[in-house]
């Protein structure tokens, strides 16, 4: 009966609380949206749309799976150069041409496939586009003059000194000084062997038979060894350097994490209430942890690279110093939560403080310690990439350099793939170790 008597006020209070909840349910999303709108304005999203260069994105994406070959003729000297990605390292040597380029006398024919054919000759250049017609360019008084079926479509751009044609099969451009054709093909060319290598252009079967039974190409060493060294010292992709860089990055993460754990472990005893009765020491140790954590890894990295110069050791020390703070904090918290009974048991056998720590405390701390160390090892692999970009070591440096040149996008793509593989590998390694060591599976 009392329920009925109080029910009006109960209903009131429930309704009120519902109203309040409803207001909060609307207010929180409204605040979030208002904040995002403010951020969008302060970040100048509108201006961003104009500045964005989606053609850059297209270039980057296409370099993930394809490469381009430049066929360039210098209009003054008449020499024709065929180079992969237009680089010196990828230039076809004298007397060697891809099978879609033929040079007979002064006439160069570039077959772009699907009926697209470009011809350079004395008179100028011609580009046959199936379904459209022939684009004919002749220099008159040093300026390219275009003859093509009217109306000129928008994939042909005509400027005073330059004519460019973009088709699906390839790009073509004619200027006063040179005429160039770019052909895009799938795959990363020269990934295994560069053009000057004796192994370039050989199929897998041929390579295997060379390695196993073939005569020695270089009499001084076996074919398989030669092949490995040609691959390892590949000038275009520099596999050896890249492998070193990856190794350096992992080394930085490993050394930094392990050293931090080794330094933080004894310090964390100082910061734990049940091991350090003197408040002053505890306070000092905790403030040290707070300080090294608070001075960000970025600042440590800058200070250290002034002292030690660029390189992996600087990166490793920077990681170690930053992580001493985080480790010290978690370890000392774990120490305060241990079960005193085990320590008591060890003490009853007459063990001294070191032995009590070794047999009574460390076994309890071990799961927390291992989990933390492995987790940090994994996340430090990522940090080491960034720190490497600042201190100048490892794959992070290679990546930033490749991006800054704004040219070798296939290398950027390669490094990105490698970094992701590296991080995933460290992730699964640390996950596996965690399961093995902590859960004992």
């Amino acid at each position: 009966m009392t329920m009925i008597a109080t029910s009006p006020s109960l209903a009131d209070s429930v309704a009120r609380s519902f109203d309040a909840k409803r207001r909060i349910a609307f207010a929180i999303p409204a605040i979030i949206i208002a904040y995002l709108i403010y951020a969008a304005i302060s970040f100048d999203i509108a201006g961003l749309a104009q500045r964005a260069r989606f053609d850059n994105a297209a270039v980057l994406l296409s370099d993930f799976w394809s490469h381009k070959t430049h066929v360039t003729r210098d209009n003054r000297t008449g020499t024709v150069v065929v180079a992969i990605e237009g680089e010196n390292k990828g230039t076809y040597p004298e007397g060697m041409l891809p099978d879609w380029v033929t040079i007979v006398g002064d006439v160069t024919t570039v077959d772009l496939g699907t009926g697209h054919v470009v011809t350079y000759d004395d008179a100028g250049a011609r580009f046959v586009v199936p379904g459209y017609g022939t684009i004919d360019i002749r220099p008159v008084n040093g300026k390219p003059v275009l003859t093509a079926p009217q109306p000129i479509p928008d994939w042909i751009s005509v400027a005073e000194n330059k004519v460019s044609v973009t088709t699906d099969a390839g790009r073509f451009s004619y200027s006063r000084s040179k005429v160039e054709t770019f052909r895009y093909q799938a795959g990363w060319e020269l990934w295994f062997f560069t053009l000057d290598s004796s192994f370039y252009g050989k199929g897998l079967g041929e390579l295997v038979s060379l390695a196993v039974v073939g005569d020695r190409i270089d009499p001084d060493r076996s074919n398989s060894g030669y092949m490995l060294s040609e691959f390892w010292t590949n000038k275009m992709w520099r596999h050896g350097d890249v492998a070193w860089a990856i190794f350096e990055t992992i080394l930085m993460a490993f050394l930094g994490t392990m050293t931090a754990a080794l330094v933080a472990l004894p310090l964390s005893f100082l910061a734990a209430r049940n091991f350090m009765p003197l408040g002053a020491f505890r306070f000092a140790a905790r403030r040290i942890f707070d300080f090294v954590r608070g001075v960000d890894g970025l600042i440590w990295t800058i200070i250290l690279s002034r002292a030690f110069g660029p390189g992996p050791m600087t990166g490793a020390i920077a990681i170690a110093i930053t992580d001493v703070g985080s480790f010290g904090k978690t370890f000392s918290e774990a120490l305060e939560n241990i079960d005193e009974k085990q320590v008591e048991g060890i003490r009853s056998t007459g063990a001294n403080a070191t032995l009590r720590a070794r047999f009574g405390v460390i076994p309890q701390l071990m799961p927390v310690l291992l989990a933390q160390v492995l987790y940090y090892l994994e996340s430090n692999t990522r940090s080491a990439t960034v720190i490497g970009a600042i201190v100048g070591g490892g794959i992070g440096l290679l990546l930033t350099q490749a991006i800054q040149t704004q040219k070798d996008w296939e290398e950027v793509a390669y490094y990105i793939v490698l970094i992701i593989l590296m991080v995933m590998m460290m992730d699964s390694l640390s996950g596996w170790l965690r399961r093995k060591l902590i859960k004992g599976e």
């Binding site: 260069r53 994105a57 960000d296 200070i303 990522r382 960034v386 990546l399 990105i416 992701i420």
Partner: protein, 294 residues
């Protein structure tokens, strides 16, 4: 521990009639394994450090006494221009706010993505249980890509400014928080969800009214922790890429002597901001987690 106590091979049991011998045998084996591991570990560390030192531009011992040279030089110069510091502080506040905004927006967007990803990837709650592995792998992939990779690529495509950093950090946050959120959601009580299902609530209503209220304190606590991490990440990305206080720091550093007062001001601003954010978020996280247990 079972396999240590009874030997690695299944079925082979120690002779229990002589348990002293068996115990000593066990201790010896444990010591041997521990010793081998210790030796390997020490060898790895020693060779690793010496290798790292070899490949470094400067050696450890030559550099050691120089560690404080640079801070000393910087602080000495700043000390002389002490009266200028407050002005420099104020001049860099907008950049600091930009850094914080980058971190906050990225955390917010990442957390929103993480909420949906984690609910879709949690056993027992997922909308499409068959697609759980897909969402889990998505989160793994988002976590795996380092922020700097995405940021540098986006700077190239989008031009400078804070947006590339926001997107890079948000993607990473989405993956990292998604995993943590999903671990929390796994332990959520399913009774409210069943109750809501019995009155005909659809999936989003079940999640919004049945699961979110249970997990919100823990999720918020993780999001705050992530915000701390993201403030640091945003400063570093500014240094490597563009935007925010990190960029100012880089410019002041490149200028070198004569602008060290600015370097000190930025160091201090960054340090104070990080410490304050750490303390505040620590306080609220304790409150959130304790409150949910009570």
């Amino acid at each position: 521990m079972v396999d240590v106590a009874f030997g690695p091979e299944q079925g082979q049991r120690p002779d229990l009639s002589n348990n002293r011998e068996a115990y000593l045998d066990l201790v010896r084996r444990k010591r041997m394994y521990g010793g081998i591991l210790l030796v390997i570990f020490i060898a790895l560390m020693a060779s690793g450090w010496s290798l790292a030192e070899d490949r470094n531009a400067g050696g450890f011992l030559e550099g050691l006494h120089q560690i404080f040279d640079f801070p000393a030089e910087v602080f000495a110069e700043a000390w002389q221009k002490l009266d200028l510091l407050p002005g420099i502080f104020i001049a860099h506040i907008p950049a600091l706010i930009e850094t914080l905004n980058i971190a906050a927006v990225a955390t917010l967007l990442g957390a929103i993505a993480a909420v949906s990803l984690s609910l879709l990837a949690t056993r027992g709650l997922a909308r499409w249980p068959r697609l759980i592995p897909v969402f889990r792998r998505t989160m793994d992939a988002l976590r795996a890509v380092p922020e700097i990779v995405i940021a540098l690529v986006l700077i190239y495509i989008l031009g400078g400014g804070p947006v590339p950093a926001v997107i890079a950090i948000a993607l990473h946050t989405g993956g990292a928080l998604g995993k943590l959120f999903s671990e929390v959601a796994e332990n959520a009580d399913l009774k409210p969800v069943e109750g809501l299902a019995s009155v005909g609530a659809n999936w989003s209503q079940r999640m919004w009214l049945g699961v979110i209220p249970q997990v919100a304190p823990n999720w918020l606590s993780y999001a705050l922790l992530r915000f701390e991490i993201n403030v640091r990440a945003s400063a570093i990305l500014g240094f490597v890429g563009e935007g925010g206080i990190g960029h100012d720091l880089k410019i002041a550093m490149q200028w070198g002597q004569g602008r060290y007062d600015e370097v000190v001001a930025i160091f201090l601003l960054l340090f104070l901001t990080i410490v304050v954010i750490d303390q505040v978020s620590d306080h609220y996280r304790h409150k959130l987690v304790k409150g949910s247990q009570a």
